[in-house]
């Protein structure tokens, strides 16, 4: 697969310490007839080259909107990035016009969308759809693009790639369609791949195939991956770093082992405690136990939340939590959380006499 080994067109790779993608205090809002929806309300993270970063959080917490904001895909009529910055390879994406964004999208940053069926065009063959990306972004001839498309299908381990290239999306299984999406996303050898719940609709055995494939391709092609999921099992499997979102905000950011072994934010702690665990052989419980619950429900994003968004459900919340927004504070190397009560500095304030 020699064609895949060349660096992306025009993208001189900078030194390895700079993050390839850096999102700071991103805020995206939708303007609906019954008010403003603060879908993303202060998200920050860095993505380094060849790194896999997972974004976790429950339904509606702003994961997909974060991804769409990065790609400049929030429809202007209904919503807008209202604040923050998105830096990609030295460029400020929020300042680019549509023409400039189009050159980046699908080429240097590409995305796998949450619904695979709706993002493949039913009237074109899958081979044609992969080739089209290559013609548009890499200026390949029809013939060269068609050949590359077959190579890409083989790369994502679709058996009999030449025949499959001539088939339509409905002729493929869900797992194969998801591989085609990956093939399209990787066709131009992007620096960043954003994958929005790429395996959620798939069965576990097929999910395992796809995750393995993504990790293998990442290692081979050096693509940095943002993987959006609500499944902490998937996170443990593939992530190097994780951000936990809650109600449009970053609640916690850490390496995967720090996050799972030493969670700081009460929401993260609750989330980890509330998932049923597979027990290890020998350590099996003989009776069924109750799971730890996070009481209550997620807040509405239509009202401004002055304090911590988790405060109404948090068991250690104080007065300050409901009135002042906790900043993301460092808890250790590459570990930060936005919580007043568990922050290292809270130990100081708690012991120091009030003045």
């Amino acid at each position: 697969m020699a064609a895949l080994d060349k660096t992306p067109s025009g993208a001189a790779r900078a030194d390895n310490t700079e993050p390839i993608l850096s999102v700071r205090d991103l805020r995206t809002q939708f303007f609906t007839s019954d008010g403003v929806v603060r879908a993303v309300d202060g998200v920050s993270f860095d993505l380094h080259r060849s790194e896999t970063l997972c974004i976790v959080g429950e339904s509606g917490c702003g994961k997909s909107v974060t991804a769409l904001s990065i790609l400049g895909l929030i429809p202007r009529e209904i919503g807008r990035v209202v604040g923050g910055s998105i830096r990609f390879d030295g460029m400020e994406l929020t300042k680019l016009d549509e023409g400039e964004m189009r050159r980046i999208r699908g080429n240097r940053i590409s995305m796998i969308f949450q619904e695979p069926m709706s993002s493949l065009n039913p009237v074109y063959t899958v081979g044609f759809q992969i080739a089209e990306t290559l013609r548009i972004h890499q200026g390949l001839s029809n013939k060269a693009a068609a050949e590359r498309a077959i190579e890409m299908l083989a790369l994502v381990r679709i058996a009999d790639a030449r025949r499959r290239a001539g088939e339509y999306p409905h002729q493929l299984s869900g797992g194969m369609r998801q591989r085609v999406m990956i093939a399209i996303a990787l066709a131009c050898n992007p620096q960043v791949l954003i994958a929005d719940e790429p395996t959620t609709a798939l069965d576990v055995t097929i999910q395992a195939q796809i995750l393995e494939l993504m990790v293998e391709l990442k290692e081979r092609l050096g693509t940095a991956i943002v993987l959006i999921t609500h499944d902490l099992g998937v996170v443990a499997e593939v992530a190097e770093r994780v951000i936990v979102m809650y109600a449009g905000r970053t609640a916690e950011e850490a390496t995967v082992s720090e996050l799972l072994d030493n969670p700081q934010h009460p929401y993260t702690r609750g989330l980890i405690g509330s998932i049923p665990r597979r027990s290890t052989p020998g350590a099996r419980k003989t009776t069924r136990t109750r799971l730890q619950e996070i009481r209550g429900i997620v807040p509405s994003l239509r009202e401004e939340i002055p304090g911590c968004a988790f405060a109404p459900r948090c068991s250690i919340a104080t007065e300050r939590c409901t009135s002042q927004r906790p900043p993301l504070e460092t808890h250790g190397p590459r570990h930060s959380a936005a919580c007043w009560e568990t922050a290292p500095s809270s130990a100081l304030t708690a012991t120091s006499p009030r003045s």
Partner: protein, 341 residues
């Protein structure tokens, strides 16, 4: 002989299903002639006792929902018997089955579409009580109020409509409605799948509490192995319309015997840091179509241990250890030991 997975025949058995089949006709063409059948459920047997949760796991399309829906007689069984508290209800007509519907209630995956949007929450829960003539007037009000309390909904929520509830609250409403007629058996089809992670724990706890308190039998359909391990007393693994393995919780998770079960357990991601690279069997290939299941063992097209005879011989479900049944040619019985390569 008792049905596979029956620990011991006893009066405690709420449900006994024997050789249940449900085939859907595939129609094509101008005259909708039947060109084949989807063998959604193709010979499934198990039993459920009072207070016991039997979980049904397996991948999409393997027939889990069809098993539950056929038992609930929402689908006509093609063959087999469904014995509910001693009566075979598989052949009863619509009129005759009515009294039995009270004994089993279904909880659905989608709390959004399974509740009538035009009824208030109070009406949704009281409807089955009035339909079966179980309560009226102030008695009805009191029973509905206590059901609301039981599932953790506030009494003032009775006047609200389904769209005003969150997903978890709607699922509680569905559970309250199912409990209204005091059933002995609950058929729960993916009751947590549409819920957020933090809400799943709430509903799962509620289902466990209710079962322990009311000694309900559960048929719990799920594709989430961690949930199944948490709630299930016994687990049945389905593949293409068949049960390929059924065992008590500890046996199934500690010593899975069917290669498909093994692969399923290996494939499910676990939320723990992977300190060492996990040895995992990753199945290749897709799930075959249930309208043309593979010959012999239905799993042979994807099985990592496949042998030539697997494509010829259809392995029966055999008891290889007490209460542990498996359908695989490599597992001939307890005496022969494990023949895994």
């Amino acid at each position: 002989m008792s049905a596979p997975g029956t620990p011991s025949p006893s009066a405690d058995v709420v449900l006994e299903v024997k050789d249940l089949k449900k085939h859907f006709p595939i129609r094509k063409g101008l005259f909708s002639s039947v060109v084949g059948h989807v063998q959604a459920v193709d010979g499934v047997s198990f039993s459920i006792r009072r207070g016991e949760a039997l979980c049904l796991v397996g991948e999409s399309g393997c027939g889990k929902s069809t098993v539950a829906r056929t038992i609930a007689r929402l689908e006509e069984p093609t063959a087999g018997s469904i014995v509910l508290n001693g009566t075979d209800i598989s052949a009863l007509g619509e009129g005759e089955i009515r009294p039995y519907r009270r004994q089993m209630q279904m909880i659905f995956q989608d709390p959004y579409s399974s509740l009538n949007p035009r009824l208030t929450a109070g009406e949704i829960v009281s409807e089955p009580l009035t339909n079966f003539g179980l309560a009226m007037g102030s008695d009805l009000q009191a029973r509905v109020a206590s059901l609301f309390e039981r599932v953790g909904l506030r009494a003032d929520a009775m006047a609200k409509y389904p769209h005003e509830f969150s997903g978890g609250q709607r699922q509680r409403l569905g559970i309250a409605r199912a409990l209204a007629v005091s059933p002995q058996l609950i058929l729960a089809d993916e009751p947590l799948s549409a819920l957020d992670v933090s809400v799943q724990a709430q509903v799962l706890n509620l289902l466990i509490d209710l079962q322990d308190e009311l000694q309900l039998g559960y048929l719990f359909v799920s594709h989430d192995l961690a949930v199944v391990e948490h709630i299930g007393h016994r687990i049945a693994v389905m593949y293409l319309g068949r049960i390929v393995e059924i065992a008590d919780n500890a046996s199934l998770f500690d010593t899975p015997l069917h290669p498909y079960t093994e692969a399923l357990l290996a494939a499910a991601p676990v939320p723990e840091v992977q300190r060492t690279k996990r040895e995992r069997i990753i199945l290749t290939g897709d799930v075959p179509s249930p309208s043309a299941p593979p010959s012999g063992c239905r799993f042979h097209t994807r099985c990592p241990y496949v042998r030539p005879e697997c494509s010829r011989i259809d392995p029966p479900l055999v008891e290889v250890a007490p209460g542990h049944h498996v359908a695989c040619l490599l597992r001939p019985g307890p005496s022969a030991g494990h023949a895994a390569p």
